[in-house]
């Protein structure tokens, strides 16, 4: 999990849909104008049905061939403008771990694998530089990739397996302290910087083999069925061995993607021009339809929204990667009929939970009573109403591969809470009138949410002791094992859309600063997580994760699922192919084009 611009700890503590994000790489192709995310106004409010979860599967070698599937009505050429608040913190792909920067890198960086949009809300993990999404052997421990013919750097030199190996090895170097840790850990150990210091002193990593210029073999210590998903992250984008300038590469990257950076004024603007050595026939992911990109930074949500609403001059050819409609304009935008065909909507792919502290709330009957009585609808109303969120009932977000729907506690059937069932369970518990210490972010919205929770729980005889907490230190405080709280909010986003980056983390080791915020220490759950992680078959693993999701909620109930925020963006009227990507929750550049 990582976030746009702001690291996860602070961002998740704030818990705003404008900031929370994950770092899965979102690629798209497909329908013309916004696809499923350019939906009609759902005044009927059932967003859950309106936004079906995306279908994500592993593609074949055929799927991995270029060019990308063209959006309907695509027009090539012209210059597209993009405006957002912040510039990108890193241009070295090895240092990228946030979804916004990863999304930008689709324009200049390629990796072994990536996400290809093959239809409306339908994605496949395919070979990007590789001919397919990887050949797995040795029970999931060995992954082999073969590079395509004709893949080149911006200077025309070929991309080789040595470049791929080098790109992975350099992630161990001391100067790279950002980016995802998965592949490094799978190749060595959890604290991977101890084992290897990178390739700059001439030492190589033994378990990445390059038998020839085209073939790369990863030999992991344990089976990892979803290594091809992990390798789709921008953090595993390729860097040329011959042109690697170490720390300085972060300012002067070499492009393997469809564009090169022609000009960059830090934090202000960036201009991209076509990379003459990028061949669309090798790229199944990126359409790269505009000739040029002009990116500008420094715009707040309100300014961006007003520009898109006015839709004048060059702003008609402008869109934003991640800036949502400003809160104060949300209702205006939703109600203005003239804007409906320029609206993009998409539920967040990230998990949002109200955790129980299992060290303190030990009686499962009490936890389940709270879950049954949970004031879902009241919270939804307070946080913006059904136009801005959907009700979640599972631990996994619906955007995660293999997610299966269930509703153990009737969050959808009884959104106002099933008080009778809750009272029944409380009567069976060891303490029918428990006191719950509830920690909350001391923001105006959370204050109101807390009142709703407090009032609701009072109806079933539970006393809520509300403890306001500082937003900036939220995760530090709730992340402590001895946090003195019984219940608190927390968020988590999968780094790639499989449960392998959800359950092992949120139900992983219990330690200060860790992410097992419910402090769940169930040997059976731990063993099952380990077993599923070792499965080589992705479909089998997905089914097992979904079953585990339901089982944990049914038998342990370590959390109450929170609402799933719905992102709302606008774009200029001459921008085509724009939609909020369901995996990365930002607008992918892959399908963008400029209408005449």
């Amino acid at each position: 999990m990582s976030t746009r611009r702001r690291p996860a700890l602070a961002v998740l503590a704030i818990g705003t849909l404008a900031l929370t994000a994950a770092c899965a790489k979102g690629n798209a192709g497909g329908s013309a104008d916004a696809g499923s995310s350019s939906a009609p106004r759902p005044s009927e409010t059932n967003l859950t049905e309106l936004f079906a979860p995306p279908k994500i599967e592993v593609g074949t070698a055929d799927d991995s061939k270029g060019p990308a599937i063209e959006p309907e009505g695509v027009v090539k050429g012209s210059t597209v403008n993009m405006i957002d608040r912040d510039d990108y913190p890193h241009l070295d792909p090895g240092r990228v771990y946030d979804n916004v920067t990863a999304n930008f890198h689709l324009l200049i960086t390629r990796g072994l694998t990536g996400y290809k949009k093959v239809g409306d809300n339908h994605y496949k993990v395919v070979g990007d530089l590789a001919t397919d999404a990887g050949q797995v052997s040795d029970g999931g421990k060995t992954w082999t990739f073969t590079l395509k013919d004709g893949v080149k750097w911006q200077d025309g030199s070929p991309i080789t397996s040595a470049d791929v190996k080098w790109s992975m090895e350099r992630l161990f170097a001391p100067f790279i302290t950002e980016g995802p840790p998965y592949i490094q850990q799978w190749l060595t150990e959890e604290d991977y910087k101890k084992s290897y210091k990178g390739p700059y002193d001439g030492k190589e990593l033994g378990n990445i083999e390059t038998p020839d210029d085209k073939t790369v073999v990863f030999k992991f210590n344990e089976p990892h069925a979803d290594a091809n998903y992990a390798l789709a992250m921008t953090g595993y984008g390729i860097v040329p061995k011959a042109k690697d300038t170490k720390e300085k590469y972060d300012k002067t990257p070499v492009s393997s993607g469809p564009y090169i950076i022609a000009a960059h004024s830090l934090d202000k603007s960036m201009d991209l021009e076509r990379n003459p050595n990028w061949d669309p026939a090798t790229d199944p992911i990126r359409g790269a339809y505009p000739d040029k990109w002009h990116l500008e930074f420094g715009y707040q949500a309100l300014a961006v929204t007003d520009r898109f609403v006015a839709d004048t001059g060059d702003d008609q050819k402008t869109f934003s990667f991640y800036t949502h409609v400003a809160a104060e304009r949300t209702q205006q935008v939703l109600q203005d009929k003239s804007l409906q065909d320029r609206i993009m909507r998409r539920p967040s792919p990230y998990g949002d939970y109200y955790y129980f502290n299992l060290d303190r709330v030990k009686d499962v009957k009490i936890r389940q009573a709270i879950a049954y009585a949970w004031p879902t609808k009241q919270i939804q109303t307070i946080t913006g109403g059904p136009d801005t969120s959907v009700i979640n009932t599972t631990i996994l977000n619906p955007s995660v591969s293999g997610w299966e729907d269930y509703d153990v506690f009737g969050f959808k059937q009884h959104p106002e809470g099933d008080l009778d069932k809750a009272k029944e369970l409380l009567a069976q518990s060891g303490d029918p009138t428990p006191t719950i210490v509830y920690g909350y972010n001391n923001t105006p919205t959370e204050q109101r949410v807390t009142v709703a929770i407090k009032n609701q729980m009072a109806k079933i005889g539970i006393k809520i002791v509300a403890k306001p907490m500082d937003t900036k230190t939220w995760y530090d405080a709730t992340g402590k094992v001895e946090n003195g709280l019984d219940m608190y909010w927390g968020g988590w986003g999968a780094d790639w859309p499989t449960a392998a980056t959800v359950f092992p983390v949120i139900f992983g080791p219990v330690r200060d600063g860790g992410y097992n915020q419910s402090h769940l220490k169930d040997p059976e759950v731990t063993a099952e997580i380990k077993r599923i992680e070792g499965l080589a078959d992705v479909d089998e693993a997905n089914k097992a994760w979904a079953a585990l999701d339901k089982k944990i909620m049914e038998t342990i109930t370590p959390l109450v699922p929170g609402l799933n925020n719905v992102g709302l963006q606008l774009r200029g009227s001459k921008v085509g192919g724009a939609e909020i990507d369901p995996i990365s929750w930002v607008v992918s550049p892959n399908t963008i084009f400029v209408k005449p």
């Binding site: 001391p174 910087k193 707040q300």
Partner: protein, 326 residues
């Protein structure tokens, strides 16, 4: 004069060092950890330690401050980033670019904003104040008083947002503000900043009108003004040579402070109009826990205040012959 400037310059330098030290040590009282923020969420201990080392946060705070201070005067070598020439204000924690370069890059926007708006509010503020004072109790005076009362109670984020919404987006009477370098196209430079200038000036003009009017009224009743009139000097001469000159001393004082505050960063103005100046940079550095950038913006603001205070003090002697520098 030289003694005055020397003494004030030394005092200014000491002030700036104290401000730098306070900013530096206060930063570490903040709850966020820049290394942790830079390292990402899944950050093994060794990587976190490396991030601290790379950001120079693994040394005692006092040592860090001394190294930073030395860098300002003699430059500094950064592991993996190379030499940073004096005045080296460090590398940004966020984008690892030299802070000094970023400040220099942003300063023209802020200076342009300051110059344009201050010319407008000085001319209109002082002018309206003089007219109001000369028409004391009459309709013009009352209109000016009411207008300045309304103006001074306005806030940039309110007026600016309204101006943007109606003038730019709804009625499209003026293009949205943008910065074009003066050297590139002076007309575009002025047009691009016209709206922020007018909004900023509208609010500041009110203060200058009130200040000018009250001081001018006071000056007009002074003995030396009466004497000048009694000697048969024309009304214009009395006003421009005597009354207005006496009025300008307090005006110069607040003008100096206002200029310094704006150069230090018109945070709200730059944010409202999406201009990439020093003010926005300072806010970003706080949000991003970017200590080197934060230090630079705070120091710039402090330096502006100190320098303009010296200039204003020196100008007193020019404006008011009764003042002697010592």
């Amino acid at each position: 004069m030289l003694r005055f400037l020397t003494r004030r310059t030394v005092a200014a330098a000491v002030t700036l060092v104290i401000i730098a030290a306070v900013t530096f040590f206060l930063f570490f009282a903040m709850p966020s950890d820049p290394a942790r923020l830079a390292c990402g969420k899944v950050c093994p201990p060794e990587t976190l330690a490396q991030a601290r080392h790379n950001l120079g946060l693994d040394q005692p705070i006092f040592v860090q401050f001394l190294e930073w201070l030395a860098g300002v005067f003699v430059g500094r070598d950064y592991e993996g980033l190379g030499h940073c020439s004096a005045p080296c204000l460090g590398y940004s924690f966020v984008n690892r670019a030299p802070v000094f370069n970023t400040i220099i890059d942003r300063l023209p926007v802020t200076i342009s904003l300051t110059i344009g708006s201050s010319v407008i509010y000085l001319i209109f503020g002082v002018g309206t104040g003089v007219i109001a004072a000369l028409n004391q109790g009459k309709a013009l005076d009352k209109i000016a008083s009411v207008a300045s009362l309304i103006g001074s109670s306005m806030q940039i984020y309110f007026v600016g947002t309204l101006a943007m919404y109606f003038l730019v987006f709804q009625w499209q009477l003026i293009e949205r503000p943008r910065y074009v370098p003066f050297t590139e196209n002076p007309l575009e430079w002025a047009y691009g900043l016209l709206l922020p200038w007018l909004v900023l000036a509208m609010i500041s003009t009110a203060n200058y009108t009130r200040m000018t009017r009250s001081t001018m009224v006071e000056q007009l009743s002074e003995d030396y003004v009466r004497t000048a009139r009694a000697k048969g000097m024309s009304g214009r001469t009395v006003i421009t040579r005597f009354a207005l000159r006496g009025t300008l001393s307090p005006i110069a004082t607040i003008f100096g402070v206002d200029l310094a505050v704006l150069i230090g960063g018109a945070i709200i103005t730059e944010t409202t109009f999406s201009l990439q100046g020093v003010g926005r940079l300072s806010i970003q550095s706080v949000v991003n826990s970017d200590l080197p950038m934060l230090m630079a913006t705070v120091l710039l603001a402090a330096a502006a205040i100190v320098v303009f205070n010296i200039i204003v003090d020196a100008l007193y002697a020019v404006i008011d012959p009764r003042v002697r520098l010592s």
